[in-house]
Each structure stands twice: as C-alpha cells, then as structure tokens.
Symmetry: C2
Subunit: 209 residues, 2 copies
C-alpha cells in the first residue's frame, strides 16, 4: 500500500498539506488565477522550487483544493440526510446545517463559490463534476421518497438540480453575510427557508394538472 507512511512519505504529505492550507488562506482575498506560486511557498517557508515536488502548477493545486473542499461538503450532506422528519422540519434542519458548515468551513466554501465560474478551466470542470455527482446522489434519494411517486427520472433529476443550485446559493449568501452578525445570518436563513418551502410546494403539486 502507498498510504502507510514511512517517516519519509509522512513529511512529504505534511508539507503538501501545508501548501494547500497556505493556498486556501491566501485565497480568502483573491482568486486562484491571481495567486502566485512564490506567494504560497513564501507563506509556508519553502523554496519556490519545492512547489514542483507536489504540484505540476497552480491549477493542479486548485483541483486538489476542490477535492478537499468537497470532503467538507459531503460531510454536510450526510448530516442533512441524517435528520429525517417531515417537510418543514427537514427544511429548517437543512438551512441550519448549511449555516453551521459555512461557519466552520468558510474558506472551503468561498473557494468553491469563487472558482465555480472562475478563470481556470481545469478547476471549473472539477467543481462541475463534483456538483453533478452530488446532484445524482440527491436524485436517487429523492426518488425513494413517497412524494416522488409518478415522477419521471428526468423530472427527478431536474428537481435535484434545482435543490443543489439552491443549496449552493444559500451557502454563498451566508458567506456574504458579515462573519459576526447573527442578525443578518438569521435574515438570510429566514429567506432561504421560505424559498425552499416554496420549491417544496411546487414539488407537491407537480402532477396536479
């Protein structure tokens, strides 16, 4: 196996992680395509040439950050799935979980929001692929619910996409709220709950006509 770290590979992974952490930290106020290789190595305290021992270039590091970020996000999804109840409670719980995870993984979410439509193609594609996988998982969850009886696969996929986009949107709204203003956060949560409820109502009446 390759992951049973000898003291050798362990140190390598430690500096690799340090590079990722420094990158994420520096990305708080700029975007990936304007972030310099030297900027990162300087922050870590490593010679510029050392960077190449871990990443081919900056977009390579960007793709690695995408994986890391979606680790957090999948943990969030599992937390949402965990709380099973009916409609209103699920919605309230969902918004609360999003708020909590954004608070605890601010840098990761900001990175995803910023680079989702950002300047580096490889990173954009990596994010799109992860979001797509996410929507697919959600779709299979949704199709198991009684509300989805009589729905076509395509419509379920459409609804899953709507939910995923909405959740990303809610998360980025929380990001834009001032970090230490619980009032603005509550205002955003209030709007987010209503929007999710409206979508839920639409779902319940999809097959009416």
């Amino acid at each position: 196996m390759s992951h049973i770290a000898g003291a050798r590979q362990a140190q390598k992974q430690r500096t690799r992680q340090a590079l990722l952490d420094a990158g994420l930290r520096l990305l708080e106020h700029q975007s990936l395509s304007s972030l310099g290789l030297r900027e990162i190595t300087r922050e870590v305290g490593v010679a510029p040439a050392g960077f190449y021992r871990h990443f081919r270039d900056m977009s390579d590091l960007g793709v690695a950050l995408v994986s890391e970020s979606f680790g957090s996000l999948h943990a969030m999804v599992r937390a949402i799935r965990g709380e099973q109840a009916k409609s209103d409670e699920v919605i309230d719980g969902t918004v609360a979980v999003i708020a909590r995870y954004v608070r605890e993984h601010r840098a990761h979410f900001r990175f995803i929001a910023r680079e989702r439509h950002g300047g580096m193609q490889q990173v954009r594609e990596a994010i799109a692929a992860e979001l797509d996988k996410f929507a697919e998982e959600l779709a299979s969850d949704l199709s198991a619910q009684p509300e989805s009886e009589g729905w076509s696969q395509e419509d379920i996929r459409m609804l899953a996409g709507l939910y995923v986009n909405q959740m990303v949107l809610i998360a980025t709204s929380f990001l834009e709220a001032s970090p230490d203003d619980p009032e603005s956060e509550e205002r955003i949560a209030r709007t987010a709950r209503r929007q999710l409820r409206l979508i839920h109502l639409g779902r319940l009446h999809w097959l009416d006509g």
Copy 2:
C-alpha cells in the same frame, strides 16, 4: 452638457471604449484579477501610461464593465416584460429570451458570472448592487399581478430573489453549453422551463395551508 462630444472628447471616449472592449475580449479566458494593465493597452495599441487617462486601476475598469454589462441585461428584462401572456407562455418566452441574449452578449454574461463571486471586492459589490436593483424592480412587477394577492411584501421580495437567482443560473447554464451545439442548448432550456414551472406552481399554492 458634457456629452456633446467635441472632436476632442469624442476621441477620448473612443479609446476608452476600445480599452473596455479589449478588456472584455481578454476576459473570455481569464478572470479580472489576473488581467494585466499592459495586456489591455497592448491589445488596443496604446502606451501603458495612457491607461491612467481613463481608469484609476483595473478594478475601476471592472466596475465600468459591470455597468456596460447590465445595460444588456436590462434590455433583456424589458424584452421579457414586453411579452405578456399567461404562465406557460411567459415561462417559455422568458427562457427563449435568456437564451437569445446570452448568445448575443456572451462576453458580458460570462464577465458577470465570473466576477459575481470573483476576487475584486469593488466589482463584486457593483454586481450585487445591480442584481439587487433588478430584484427590486421585479418585485414591484410581481406585486401588481393577481397571483400576488394576499402576499406580504417580504414574501414577494423573497420570490423576486428566487426568480432573479434562477434567471442568472439559467443564463450561466447556457454559457457553459458549447456555443454551436443547439441540441445541448435545447436540453438546458427544457430543464430551465420545468424548474421555472415548478417554482410557479409553488407560488400558486403559497397561501394554501
């Protein structure tokens, strides 16, 4: 008046516009924060120092591009308002208008999508302000419709925000479709129409419970 161009000011505005156009062209494959001042002046055929006769710095040019872009967008909104009919026709028309405007103003929409959460604060704020103004106008439109009877101002504003976000999302989806693939474009339009219809259904049943 300042806008009755003498041959003097006319030429100034022409190179200013040339700088904006070159900027927008170069932003097709990168983001604003990685775009260099010299890159733009080189493209236009102007000395680097000349840039400062028109913009304080790159974020200043970015804000100007935001205004220019939302000129296109407001034209689009007027086109949507123009076509009045009921529910399904409105939705089909809306999606068609978005598709057309994205096709005709690709660079502007890509710029907005990319910089909405991008690296430069001033530009982000300018975009947020424009989108907010947009949502406010839409809210006042919505409140004049019979479907909004009995709705609180806050809920109407919530719905308007949902629509605006959805329209931006639809536009960026079109952007990501290959430019000359009418089939993928139709697939996206199909999904977009259903998502808007589901939201519309939710709207109709908002006051049920």
